[in-house]
């Protein structure tokens, strides 16, 4: 320790970050993430998976569809949406799998590494820390989503797709990733141990994706006597699972995978599709925000949680009114006909 080159300077008047500076937690997480070899091996695996699936679907639709007896090109539709559906499916599955893993060590990892106290001894708010962690996860998910664009653009060349389809698809998939990442973050803040947080995050992700589908099936099977209650339950449940919103976003593509290209042609499927999608994405984003706000309050309690709680409750109310004013049945939105 040599003679001090360390000069005493009065600390800044306020703890606020100077304008134009990046959230330090975000910067740190980005550096750590993009320096790891794992980030790029996941990216490569994902690209191979997505393009492999797209190629397999393309080959089936363009070539052997008719010969194998499966409904394929024979239906006479365009192949683009089907190939795009395959890409979207690969993207959805990857994000659902990867996103909780990106954040499940966000808080617990700091505790396990014994760096948490150092972080809490700084003036950073819980909200800043959570935003940094979530921001880095979303940056990586955005990289995954944009890396698939060249493959998706192949689908455009094949025809039958508009830019709106791409926008819908990417939005649905990214919101699904946001929800899963927020779930991982909340699990990490709750359990403070990464292994346990991982189990909770993935169980939670499975429950959030599949739970509403099971519940919808049960409502169908058992019925709900009160029509308003039924409408509310079905409306909320069908809009909360990322599986349904992603399917609606890429509906022709994903159903084309099963029934062949053009399977949905002629159906009045556009009725309410965008309303359903918007309502779904709004609900899922709100759910993600609630999880993050909870995690932020757990990292460092402040007065902000109450305001967040009130704000989110208000938004939920507005959302419910919207749901009742524009009630789109999920089967209709999927092109399966009214229920």
């Amino acid at each position: 320790m040599s003679r001090a080159a360390y000069e005493a300077t009065p600390p800044p008047a306020s703890a606020r970050r100077p304008r134009g500076e990046l959230n330090p937690v975000l910067l740190r997480e980005l550096r750590a993430r993009f320096r790891s070899a794992r980030a790029f091996s996941v990216l490569t695996t994902f690209l191979l998976f997505a393009s492999g699936l797209a190629w397999a679907v393309y080959a089936r639709e363009a070539g052997g569809g008719a010969a194998s007896g499966l409904p394929g090109a024979a239906v006479g539709g365009e192949i683009g949406p089907v190939v795009f559906g395959a890409v979207l499916l690969a993207e959805l599955l990857t994000l659902l799998l990867v996103a909780p893993g990106l954040t499940m060590a966000a808080i617990s990892g700091e505790i396990e590494r014994r760096t948490y106290e150092l972080l809490l001894a700084t003036p950073l708010s819980g909200w800043t820390i959570v935003r940094g962690k979530l921001g880095a996860a979303m940056a990586y998910l955005l990289l995954l989503a944009s890396s698939v664009l060249p493959v998706a653009s192949l689908a455009f060349v094949l025809g039958g797709l508009g830019p709106l389809d791409l926008l819908r698809g990417q939005a649905a998939v990214l919101v699904a990733g946001l929800l899963m990442a927020s779930l991982g973050l909340a699990a990490s803040a709750l359990l403070q141990r990464t292994e346990r947080a991982a189990i909770l995050a993935y169980l939670g992700a499975a429950a959030l994706c599949l739970g509403p589908l099971v519940a919808l099936w049960l409502i169908d099977a058992l019925g709900l006597p009160d029509p308003l209650l039924r409408r509310l339950a079905v409306g909320v449940l069908s809009r909360s699972t990322p599986l349904l919103s992603a399917m609606v976003a890429g509906r022709e593509g994903i159903f084309g995978l099963i029934y062949g290209a053009g399977a949905l042609r002629g159906l009045d499927a556009d009725a309410g599709v965008d309303a359903f999608l918007l309502q779904s994405l709004a609900l899922q984003t709100g759910l993600a925000a609630a999880l993050c706000a909870w995690a932020a309050g757990r990292v460092r309690p402040s007065g902000r949680e109450r305001r967040w709680g009130i704000g989110l409750a208000g938004l939920l109310l507005v959302w419910l009114v919207w749901l009742l004013a524009v009630p789109v049945d999920w089967r209709l939105a999927l092109g399966l006909g009214g229920g």
Binding site: M1, A5, A8, P11, P12, E117, L118
Partner: protein, 336 residues
């Protein structure tokens, strides 16, 4: 006067974990601009105290003021976080960052503007002697280097108060000495430093005041001299000296005991009655004495020995006898 009020004041500060009181009513007052040593055996509550002051823990009872502002729990304002540098006892580091990035990260957390940040990080790396390792990953540094980095992180926002929990643990002897020099240098900059340790001698040299903790309470506090005097007014006057005398030196003990202001220490290396010492042996005689007075008194002792024809191989004036203060106080507490 506001400027002279203590940097840290606590009143009845207490913290409970389940049924156990880790801190059972602490009344502390740390004057500004001093190095204050918090000493006590394992589990005395030193870490708990520092974490409470750093705003990382909420007290179960009691209050604290830092720089005149209430500083407990959620009231631990951002402004206070800016005023405090905290170094925990066992802390981890982000192993995947470079050394300069590590300090830069905390500088950003404290909202330092870019130009200041760059200078500060370079200055701190120089201060802890890691300038040449600035580009190395923190994980590749030795434990002691990481420890120094952690100390530097607590300085990054130039806080007025430093809370250092066992900063010397894990450092090599040279780094320990450098740490003491660094603490003095920081004190000269006007900072108030609270430093904990269970090795008292480590702090004796550098602390202006100490607080001795035991079972969550402060059993004694104040300047070291005063503490020593309070503990044992008879014995603690004067300075302890270790003597090594070449044989034949049988006359030495009687001679020393007869000198004014000199007393034989009962727990010296050899028994005072000389029974343990074999006059025929070639081994030098080692005895401990206590000498009252300054340099003159010490010179007089040596003169007397030389005049009596006793050859003095070593005359070692001991540093302040903190372990004894510590043991005496904590033992008294257990018995009482």
């Amino acid at each position: 006067m506001a400027e002279r009020e203590p940097a840290i004041v606590t009143r009845g500060l207490a913290r409970r974990y389940g049924e156990r009181w880790a801190l059972a009513g602490l009344d502390l007052s740390v004057p500004r601009g001093l190095i204050y040593g918090l000493v006590g055996p394992n589990g005395a509550g030193k870490t708990t105290t520092l974490r409470l002051l750093a705003g990382l823990l909420e007290p179960s009872a009691g209050e604290a003021w830092i720089l005149g502002q209430p500083a407990t729990g959620p009231r631990h304002l951002d402004r206070l976080r800016q005023a405090i540098g905290y170094m925990p006892d066992f802390s981890g580091v982000y192993e995947d960052m470079r050394a300069w990035e590590y300090l830069d990260f905390y500088a950003r957390c404290h909202g330092l503007p870019r130009s200041l940040r760059r200078r500060r990080v370079a200055g701190l790396l120089d201060l802890i002697g890691l300038s040449d390792r600035a580009q190395d990953e923190v994980g590749s540094l030795s434990r002691g280097m990481q420890q120094r980095l952690c100390l530097a992180h607590a300085l990054v926002h130039d806080p007025a108060i430093l809370l250092l929990d066992e900063p010397a643990a894990g450092l090599d002897p040279r780094a320990r000495r450098e740490l003491r020099a660094l603490l003095r240098e920081l004190r000269a900059m006007g900072k108030t430093i609270v430093v904990s340790s269970h090795v008292l001698s480590e702090l004796a040299e550098v602390c202006d005041q100490v607080g001795i903790m035991e079972r969550g309470r402060l059993v004694a506090g104040g300047a070291l001299d005063a503490l020593e005097r309070d503990l044992d007014p008879e014995r603690s006057a004067g300075q302890r000296v270790l003597l090594e005398l070449l044989p034949p030196a049988e006359a030495a003990q009687a001679l020393l005991a007869g000198l004014p202001g000199v007393s034989l220490e009962p727990d010296g290396p050899a028994a005072p009655d000389g029974a343990a010492h074999d006059p025929e042996a070639a081994e030098p005689l080692r005895i401990a004495i206590r000498v009252e007075g300054g340099a003159e008194a010490h010179a007089a002792v040596i003169d007397a020995l030389v005049a009596a024809g006793i050859r003095v191989a070593a005359y070692q004036r001991q540093e302040r006898d903190l372990e004894r203060v510590f043991l005496g106080l904590t033992r008294a507490e257990v018995e009482g």
